[in-house]
């Protein structure tokens, strides 16, 4: 075991739905902290990688370690942010109740939440700018607000590693800004964030590390070293649009102005 175990280490991970293999022999050591993007085309197995690591879908083979430990021992240190579209937002619950779900794993499932714990859920909502919506029914939220509530629930877990499935999917610019601020705060605090990310233009600004995935790991490491046009075209099999490629050029106007992100 290395002295600083990686937040997430996959060894030869394979997953198949019915016949078709989705992930084949994926081996990858994520950094111990900081922000990492998982980037790849549709059907590359990005979401599946997160789910298989968390044992939400069965693995064909392979081993997974979180901070050098089995999932069972490391569970308290892991926070999962599922895709927003994966749940029924008409569920009868308030914003605060959803955020509070992030506290129950620590205090137990069978007693009412103590006041201090509820305040922690409230603080998580405040961090994503949703404090004023605490009593609101979740069905009345916009897509961006729903995503913030999901993020607040994850924050309430106070995890050391966050696995996020498309945290920026279908949200407006203000929400994207709010989410990336939270992710950078987590990074500064020494937490690890591994996020499935679709937007090639923003990936280099938002994330320090990248794992290029297309059923297997094409390349992984620090963003500057790995996020190259050659690696991307290997990942996407030449299916990148002109716009995407323009965004990747170092001098691209799509890229420069946003560089100021902390």
């Amino acid at each position: 075991m290395s002295p600083t175990p990686s937040a997430l280490e996959l060894r030869n991970l394979s997953v198949a739905y019915r016949e078709a293999p989705v992930l084949q022999g994926v081996s990858w050591r994520a950094p111990q902290s900081g922000l990492t993007a998982i980037v790849g085309p549709n059907g590359a197995g990005k979401s599946t990688l997160l789910k298989a690591a968390l044992e939400l879908v069965p693995r064909l083979s392979g081993e997974v370690r979180f901070f050098g430990q089995e999932l069972r021992q490391a569970r308290r240190r892991i926070g999962y942010l599922p895709q927003r579209a994966s749940v029924d937002w008409d569920f009868p619950a308030t914003v605060l109740q959803v955020a509070s779900m992030g506290r129950y794993p620590r205090v137990g499932w069978f007693l009412p939440l103590p006041r201090a714990e509820r305040e922690r859920a409230r603080a998580a909502l405040a961090e994503v700018g949703m404090a004023d919506f605490a009593g609101r029914q979740i069905g009345q939220l916009s897509g961006g607000q729903q995503q913030r509530v999901f993020l607040a629930r994850a924050l309430a877990l106070e995890a050391d590693l966050y696995l996020m499935d498309e945290p920026f999917a279908g949200v407006d610019a203000a929400t994207e800004r709010a989410i990336i601020d939270v992710l950078h705060r987590l990074g500064r605090d020494g937490r690890a964030v591994i996020a499935v990310h679709h937007d090639l233009a923003t990936a280099p600004q938002y994330f320090e590390h990248v794992c290029l995935l297309n059923r297997e790991v094409v390349a992984a490491g620090p963003m500057e070293a790995v996020f190259t046009p050659e690696n991307l075209s290997r990942t996407y099999g030449g299916r990148l649009s002109m716009l995407d490629e323009a965004a990747l050029r170092p001098s691209s106007p799509l890229r420069q102005p946003l560089r100021a992100v902390p």
Binding site: L56, V87, F91, P92, M101, Y104, W109, Q137, L157
Partner: protein, 304 residues
Amino acid sequence: MEALLQALTFSGGYNARVVALGCAAFGLAAGALGCFVLLRGRALIADAAAHATLPGLCLAFILAATLGWNPRSLPLLMGGAAATAALGVLAVGALARGGRLRDDAAMALVISIGFGTGVALLSVVQSLPVGGQAGLSSFILGQAAGMSAADALLILWLAVAALLAVAVLFRPLAVLCFDADFAASVGLPVRWLDLALLGLMLAVTVAGLRAVGLILVVALMVVPAATARLATERLSVMVPLAGLLGAVSAWMGAGLSAAAPALPTGATIALVACALFLLALLFAPARGVVAFALRQRRLRREAA
């Protein structure tokens, strides 16, 4: 009318009181559990399970008749019903696994096989040289009248046990129903919780067979929960409210059918539950038809 009042005011003697209480307890458990059944998308599985009780009822009757036991013993019949209902639920899971068959097709298949086998076995039961066959048909449409106090007490205790389990598992079940992947990611035993939900559903279904009947027992799990959902946005209100609606429906329905013995109890209970649903559909504060129309009119006037 007098019989109805008697039934509703628990003044029809000890036996009638116990039967009314047993029915109400079943309604309470069915309504409360129904919220989770509905939110987990299990309403049709509940119906499949209910229809799959019929072969079990018949097999238990045949077994008892063959061995010389009392073929009308309720615990025995409930046991048989629960066994084939559990088989039916497992069959739905196996048929739908890996996308082999769509969920709704798998459930329709289990309903067809379960109910078809049951009706065929009923004709075997009719040919047996023992009495009491007529009792079995009351499990199809429900008949609270003529239920013994011992039977009603058995139903009562089963319902109370199911209610306690729902109360204890309230929060894990709520998180499971809202977001199963998140629940699993924080270490909740999702598979066991789902099994517990199915087990409770089977227990409540079997408890309701005698009074409500297998065709309409699903109504008491679905209708009060749907009614309560119209009236509130809080799960912590929805579950007790659905329980209360279920209890009132079962108690009033049982009273009505006691007053008009030609009416099967299952039908009267389901109709009372549906009447309450209709009221909520029209007059619920936020989601009701009237509130919606008023809101639309106000918005139009403001826009004009």
